[in-house]
Amino acid sequence: MKNINKKMKKDQNLAMVIVGDRCIGCDACYVACKTDWDVPALKEAFRTKVWEVEGKDQYGNPTIGFLPTLCNHCDNAPCVAVCPTGASFKRDEDGIVLVEPDMCIGCKACMVACPYDARYYNEHEQTVDKCTFCLPRISQGLDPACVTTCVGESRNFGDLNDPESNVSKLLKDATSVARLKEDEGTLPNVYYVTVNY
């Protein structure tokens, strides 16, 4: 893995590494996440989602693929930059981007600013809501809900500062690494890799 632009100094550099071709599009992550965090019963309300992408190969044959998405916990997070109250903030110690509900005024500027469509407005809680990398769970030593349930073991979570972590090893062994919309300068912490086992 080359050219990881580390601008922030963090005790932990938490990241999600998604082995792209292990995602089978089952959406277990979607349901596990909504259930654990009481995300409202609306199609528009979610913290993570798998997109089915139909395309064509070089010969014009139809192809399908799956793209799991979530908050990228960007090191240069546009949502944090635009938040007028400081409700959207990035934790220094591990880089997790959060929204503090008590401070959110519901202006939704962050929802517009986010290039990844990672946020939604929770009418019931009167706050913008998003993926927390399951901070409540990981603070108790558990994996994030989506990682725990992932049927294809596509999703992996850990600390990139620890060379022995699962995610560090995956990035080291990866035959290709991509992040979404890198050209926007967001420095995302969700990686999409292919691996030869």
Partner: protein
């Protein structure tokens, strides 16, 4: 794109939106910093707490696969379900449906008490009654029918963990007409073919060693889209480790994502393709002759028989290039024996299903992959001597569905029966009157095989319909008396004992008390049985069976099972073929039967359907301007059971009609146009559905996902969402297995 037709902006399309967004954020919004400053100190503190709650072990009942589940409750409310890490069915993961088990349990649309019908059948008018009134009602209605017609007038249908109690009641009452739809509506033809060849079935937890395979050749089995968790895991794992994947299906399903080759063959021609592969393998001396000589019966006959099925011939039938057939046959054989050819699971397709799977079984045999890593593993039973419970003697009365020695379907197992045959017997009241149905967790209206109109007519012939279920399915709405079952999260159940690659036991303990006035299937069947004086067969409650099991274990085993919910028995060899151990086959010849002698007699009488070696049988073809109706699973729903589950409905609540660009152009349809399907046989019209124009479906066919179109108004969310394929599929029968054949239904597609 049906599965993600949401309003939230699709960020994939909006790469350029960030600039606009940033401007709006910075300039447009006042900044009440003073108000927020005092909250700064507690910022984020709420995210450092997580109460996992109280753990109880269970296994999932959202589908038949029964993954191990850890249930977590907070203050008596189920908060979260997670996969049990030890359970070999799922190794710590659960799918979308499994995760959504909570929503099904806390669904206010559930059946909340015993009910007796007051309105017309299907009208949905019931009165709440006591349990005893409901049991008495069954006795008062059923007993006169039993007196008049004999106990065989009751037909029973069952699907779910409580099956054993419905079975027990049925046998004790004395009816032979016990049916498990998993046979005739699903796996029957596949299991029949495997048994004729190998002397054993593939079983509900299939014996394909996908994770270790070097080449998976998959005939229309959607491992990724049907999501039985272990198999989906193994499928992904095998591919990640570099297995080749030849995916054979007229539709590009989720499983085709990483296919080395996707062969979009003509529907119904799978058998021709497999025959073509076998031809090449034998012609080019690619068979594993060590295995063939040692274990196979009828190789020489096969060599002669297969000569007619050249790749060129197979190409004409399948539409797949002959060179491709040769190349893939070579590739497949090159990696033998660590390869596997996988038949479909729901093998109710073209009426040539048993013989199609026979062909695929032979293809495997020629690779010598029996008991070999990456091929077919061998299951071992749980090595425990549990107390044997006494069973009532089975009746010798003739079955109504043509199953049994000397009957039309002599090969079909009487223990499972032909559900489709019972529908027909009820419709025609032949060979004798069927006047009562007992349905447990089954829903014929959404899983019909005789046409839905015929099914209503059949039910009109019944004097009594008894339903045991957790929810008001379309069929439960037609019941005369309804017994509400507790969900799997609300009840103890008999221990789950699985013969498998690594055999294991799983426990299910009630995580919460029943929310409504419901009971487990054991209590319900016992309550009915008591009215008939048959309670002696119901001495062993689920709790008692758990106690009996625990007392037969060592202290250490007992502790593991109670604490972890799963107990493994790992001292087994799933690969005796690789370790050179002798292999045994429980067939008539004691060998793998490339040639099946048992079929000879029927072959003389009935012709090619019963050929001892697979002989190509052409599926019926659509006429001009007609389309073959295909259907299959979505990863987001289990059969027709979960379409009222709010969270799963978010993932999918519709059934767009898939059509190829060529066909759409011919009919003048564009993607998203609204169309209706018309059954060419009955004239039945669907309500409008959007069309999905895609090369992922073969010309001449249309496809919709299974499980939708519910007409039960008790489902406040799932009512009338999408279309049910049941109104458009065929009512065919595979002549060997007697199981249903659904894929020969033809439709016209018209603008709505």
């Amino acid at each position: 794109m049906s599965r993600h037709n949401i309003n939230r902006r699709g960020f994939l399309k909006l790469a350029g939106a960030t600039g606009i967004a940033a401007t709006a954020g910075v300039t447009g919004i006042p900044s009440p910093l003073s108000a927020s400053a005092k909250k700064e100190s507690a910022k984020g503190a709420r995210f450092l707490k997580y109460d996992r709650g109280v753990h109880s072990p269970s296994f999932c009942e959202m589908c038949f696969w029964n993954c191990g589940v850890d249930v977590y409750t907070r203050d008596g409310i189920i908060h979260k379900l997670e996969g049990n890490k030890l359970n070999p069915n799922n190794r710590g993961h659960i799918c979308a449906k499994g995760n959504a088990g909570i929503q099904s349990t806390y669904d206010p649309d559930r059946i909340q008490s015993p009910l007796i019908r007051t309105g017309k059948r299907g009208e949905g008018k019931f009165k709440k009654v006591s349990w005893d009134e409901a049991y008495q009602y069954v006795f008062d209605k059923l007993n006169p029918l039993v007196k008049k017609y004999g106990p065989e007038t009751l037909a029973t249908f069952m699907h779910g963990t409580g099956e054993r109690y419905v079975h027990m009641f049925s046998v004790a009452l004395g009816t032979p007409n016990i049916t498990v739809p998993a046979y005739s509506q699903c796996m029957g033809s596949r299991e029949m073919a495997w048994a004729l060849t190998y002397g054993t079935g593939i079983s509900g937890h299939e014996t394909f060693d996908l994770a270790n395979s070097k080449h998976m050749m998959i005939f229309g089995r959607n491992f990724a889209g049907a999501v039985q968790v272990r198999e989906a895991e193994d499928f992904a794992e095998g591919l990640a480790r570099g297995s080749k994947l030849t995916y054979i299906d007229p539709r590009q399903s989720e499983s085709a994502v990483n296919a080395t080759d996707w062969l979009q063959l003509n529907p119904g021609s799978d058998m021709a393709l497999a025959l073509g592969f076998i031809h090449v393998i034998i012609r080019d001396n690619l068979a594993n002759m060590d295995f063939v000589r040692k274990y196979c019966y009828g190789y020489n006959e096969l060599v002669e028989h297969i000569k007619q099925y050249t790749p060129e011939w197979a190409s004409k039938k399948t539409g797949i290039d002959a060179k491709t057939i040769e190349r893939i046959a070579w590739d497949f054989a090159k990696d033998a024996p660590n390869v596997v050819a996988v038949p479909p699971r729901r093998m109710t397709r073209y009426g040539n299903d048993t013989q199609t799977v026979r062909t695929i079984a032979i293809l495997n045999a020629l690779m010598g992959n029996w008991g070999v890593p990456g091929g077919i593993f061998i299951r071992t039973a749980v090595p425990l001597d549990l107390p044997k419970h006494e069973h009532p003697p089975a009746t010798k009365a003739r079955r109504a569905d043509g199953v049994g020695e000397g009957e039309k379907y002599p090969f079909a197992p009487p223990s499972l029966g032909r559900t489709n045959g019972i529908y027909e017997a009820t419709l025609k009241q032949k060979p004798y009157p069927i006047k009562a149905w007992l349905l447990y967790g089954t829903n014929p209206i959404s899983h019909s095989s005789v046409g839905v109109n015929n099914l209503y007519d059949a039910m009109n012939n019944l004097d009594l319909i008894i339903a045991i279920d957790t929810q008001f399915s379309d069929t439960v709405m037609y019941a005369d008396v309804v017994f509400p079952e507790s969900t799997y999260l609300e009840r103890d159940d008999a221990p789950y004992i699985q013969k498998d690659k690594v055999p294991f036991i799983a426990l299910r303990r009630a995580a919460i008390k029943p929310i409504y006035d419901t009971k487990g299937c054991y209590d319900i069947c016992k309550g009915i049985a008591e009215k008939f004086g048959l309670q002696k067969w119901f001495e062993h409650s689920p709790e008692h069976m758990i106690e009996q099991l625990l007392s037969s274990l060592s202290d250490e085993q007992k502790e593991t099972l109670e604490k972890d919910g799963t107990l493994l028995f790992e001292d087994v060899d799933p690969y005796p073929g690789a370790s050179g151990g002798p292999l045994k086959f429980a067939t008539t010849t004691g060998k793998v039967q490339l040639y099946v002698k048992d079929l000879e007699e029927y072959y003389q009488k009935e012709g090619d359907n019963f050929a001892p070696m697979p002989t190509y049988i052409e599926a019926p073809q659509p006429k001009k301007d007609e389309f073959r109706m295909l259907f299959g699973r979505t990863p987001h729903h289990s059969h027709a059971r979960t379409q009222n589950n709010w969270i799963l409905l978010e993932l999918q609540d519709d059934t767009p009609v898939w059509m190829s660009p060529k066909d759409a152009k011919y009919l003048g349809f564009k993607d998203g146009d609204m169309v209706r399907l018309i059954n060419t046989k009955t004239g039945f019209k669907s309500h409008p559905e959007p069309i999905k124009v895609t090369e992922r479906i073969k010309d001449g066919s249309v496809f919709i996902h299974h499980g939708f179109g519910h007409q039960t108004k008790a489902w406040t969310r799932g009512y009338n969402k999408g279309t049910s394929e049941n109104n458009f599929i065929s009512d065919g029968v595979d002549p060997v297995s007697g199981a249903a054949a659904f894929h020969n239904g033809f439709v016209k597609v018209v603008r709505a």
